[in-house]
């Protein structure tokens, strides 16, 4: 293919930029509940985010990446003109990146997922024709944007209600918390691992049967629950804090649990959002290397790693500061609440990642927080802000689409 190297370089640069943007802006949202609940210091949050964002991207980012890369646009639209896909995907990356830049400058709530999906649908529908878009798949994605916050809300409600019933309502909440903490840890790790392993780790050279997936998840979950139990047992009653607030020690137990769910959250975020940056890159690389649009081309692992590295760089260079501003907010969130919301959100997102659905981490987390609120768990939720966050995608999708249409025609004119 002509200009193949230029396409590759451009794709790499744009993709890295986008991944950087996700690391810089979006990771803070994923970690916000942990820091807000004072379960993690800012430094700890950054280290956990770096490790688990990368792991999530590489180990579980494949399915969503393939959806972004080839799930929404019909490959037959490019027969004879594979370059069009390259221009389109470059345009989508530029559009999503530009929109994110503008929106975060203005302080608007943004979703990388919504902007990249809007951008891809935009260039395909206008640049190639309405038939080039796989509308059924796009419809399913849009449906998942409604379903995912909803189900996270229901999970969070159930998890928090179980905490109330088993621990908070009881006479001896601290002893109860110590008793049930390992079980909650087991559940968290088991569910996240199971979904990840179920989808297989073929791309990292790991193939497991169903039984092995269950066994592996269970073993890992038991180990981590054991470690968690050790830390939880070491917690002693702080008489002074307890006098002011009788549940101070109980909340300390949940602070330990939140380290686990914060990791799960970072993993989930990496697994879903890395695709927003590298899905288009993967599509371009495949075309540039083969000279044609292959529907079945495998996803090279180095592309996932590129995305993971980009996110971590974004986190290290700029995201740190965003996370620090989160830490300075005083929120009405205690670890028991943060734990419920994060576990529900992380599980929902990982399931979405496993089924290849690009969802919005922020929306899922907000849905989970509302679920805890429904169980009378949070002293004040600002519904105005909630509404603005959910409504933002109504603007983000067409904004991403319009920008990508403009970039598509510019790139087409310049490069061909």
């Amino acid at each position: 293919m002509e200009h193949a190297t230029i396409y590759l370089i451009l794709a790499g640069v744009f993709g890295l930029f986008m991944a950087w943007g996700i690391g810089a802006n979006d990771v803070a949202n994923a970690m916000a509940t942990s820091i807000g609940a004072k379960a993690l210091t800012i430094k700890q949050a950054i280290v956990i985010a770096a490790i688990f964002e990368f792991a999530g991207a590489v180990l579980a980012g494949g399915e969503v990446t393939s959806t972004i890369r080839k799930g929404m646009v019909d490959s037959s639209a490019f027969i004879g003109e594979p370059e069009l896909l390259v221009y389109g995907m470059l345009a989508a990356l530029l559009a999503a990146g530009t929109w994110l830049f503008i929106a975060s400058r203005k302080g608007w709530p943004v979703s990388t997922t919504h902007s990249i999906v809007g951008a891809i649908v935009g260039f395909a529908a206008v640049g190639l024709g309405v038939d080039a878009v796989k509308w059924d798949k796009v419809g399913a994605i849009v449906a998942s944007w409604v379903i995912s916050p909803l189900s996270a809300g229901i999970f969070a409600f159930l998890i928090f209600t179980s905490i109330q019933k088993l621990i908070l309502e009881q006479k001896d909440p601290f002893a109860r918390a110590q008793k049930y903490a390992p079980i909650y840890i087991f559940l968290t790790v088991f569910l996240i691992c199971l979904v990840t392993l179920f989808k297989g780790l073929k791309h990292v050279g790991f193939e497991l049967t169903t039984f092995q997936a269950y066994l592996g998840s269970a073993v890992l979950a038991v180990i981590i629950a054991g470690i968690g139990r050790f830390f939880v047992q070491r917690i002693t009653v702080d008489e002074k804090a307890e006098k002011k607030f009788h549940y101070a020690t109980v909340e300390k137990v949940f602070a330990v649990l939140m380290v686990i769910t914060a990791s799960a959250m970072a993993f989930a975020h990496g697994s879903n959002d890395v695709a927003n940056a590298i899905g288009p890159v993967a599509a371009i690389v495949s075309v540039a290397q083969s000279g044609q649009v292959l529907q079945s081309a495998p996803l090279p692992i180095w592309i996932l790693m590129l995305g993971g590295v980009g996110i971590v760089i974004g986190l290290a260079t700029y995201g740190r500061r965003v996370i620090a501003t989160v830490g300075s907010h005083i929120t009405a969130l205690t670890p028991s609440r943060g734990f419920s919301a994060e576990l529900a959100a992380a599980f929902t997102i990982v399931v979405a990642s496993g089924t290849g659905m690009p969802v919005s981490t922020t929306h899922v987390l907000v849905g989970a927080v509302l679920g805890v609120g429904m169980a009378r768990g949070i002293s004040a939720i600002n519904l105005g802000v909630v509404g603005r966050i959910f409504l933002s995608w109504v603007i983000t999708v067409p904004a991403g689409a319009c920008l990508s249409i403009v970039f598509f025609f510019i790139l087409k004119a310049v490069l061909s």
Binding site: S104, V322, H329, I378, S379, N382, L383
Partner: protein, 224 residues
């Protein structure tokens, strides 16, 4: 810059409501000192005590306004916004009563008749005890939020409220007795002073009533 998601958490009204109650209780408590000086005929000190009450009443007003501003309509809370505002309004009546009572006494240089003095002080301090009981229940408000208004914590608060009710019943009895004695000696006193004494007794009794009503408001929150 910053994460949008942190903005969905509104500031919790719990701590401000608790702080407001602390101020209200302080104002009520100062009444004991105030009447000790009145009985001791030390009007210099009485004036100082009155100033303290007025200052606390202003502080309470300021705190009340802050809470009102903070509780915007767009908040999703585990309890009804109107119930919380009502609670704060009832709390705020306590320093108002303390201010009114001390104002009446100072304005008329109102002395408490000797036969009444001891009982009167007991009456004042029992009403202040009721306010203290109300403060004790309000101090559990953060725990109630933590448990989601369920379980053993609710039982604990119900117990505190019934203790508070008992104190209030006691103040009612004391109030009736004071009135009875005042009635028996009123012929020998200046009629206008007597009128105001009745008024002062009534207002002090209202402090106990308000304390009891704080308990009722908390029950409403818990029964939601």
């Amino acid at each position: 810059m910053g994460s949008y998601i942190t903005k969905i958490f509104g500031a919790s009204p719990v701590a401000p409501i608790q702080e407001h109650m602390e101020i209200c209780y302080k104002a009520a408590k100062e009444l004991v000192t105030f009447f000790e000086y009145v009985n001791g005929d030390n009007w210099e000190k009485v004036r100082e005590s009155r100033e303290k009450i007025v200052r606390l009443e202003n502080e309470a007003d300021e705190a009340k306004k802050q809470i009102r501003m903070q509780l915007s309509q767009a908040l999703f809370m585990p309890v009804a916004r109107a119930d919380l505002l009502d609670l704060v309004l009832v709390q705020d009546k306590i320093p108002n009563l303390a201010r009114d009572v001390s104002g009446l006494v100072i304005g008329r240089q109102l002395a408490i008749p000797d036969v009444l003095q001891e009982r009167f002080l007991t009456f004042v301090s029992r009403n202040v005890d009721a306010a203290k009981g109300a403060r004790k229940t309000i101090r559990e408000l953060d725990e109630l939020y933590e448990t989601g208004f369920r379980g053993t914590e609710v039982d604990l608060v119900r117990r505190l409220i019934s203790e508070l009710d008992q104190i209030e019943n006691e103040t009612d009895a004391l109030q009736a007795e004071l009135r009875r004695i005042l009635f028996s000696i009123e012929k020998d006193l200046s009629p206008i002073d007597v009128m105001f004494l009745y008024k002062v007794i009534e207002s002090i009794g209202d402090i106990g009533d308000m304390a009891e009503r704080i308990g009722r408001r908390l029950e409403l929150l818990m029964n939601h």
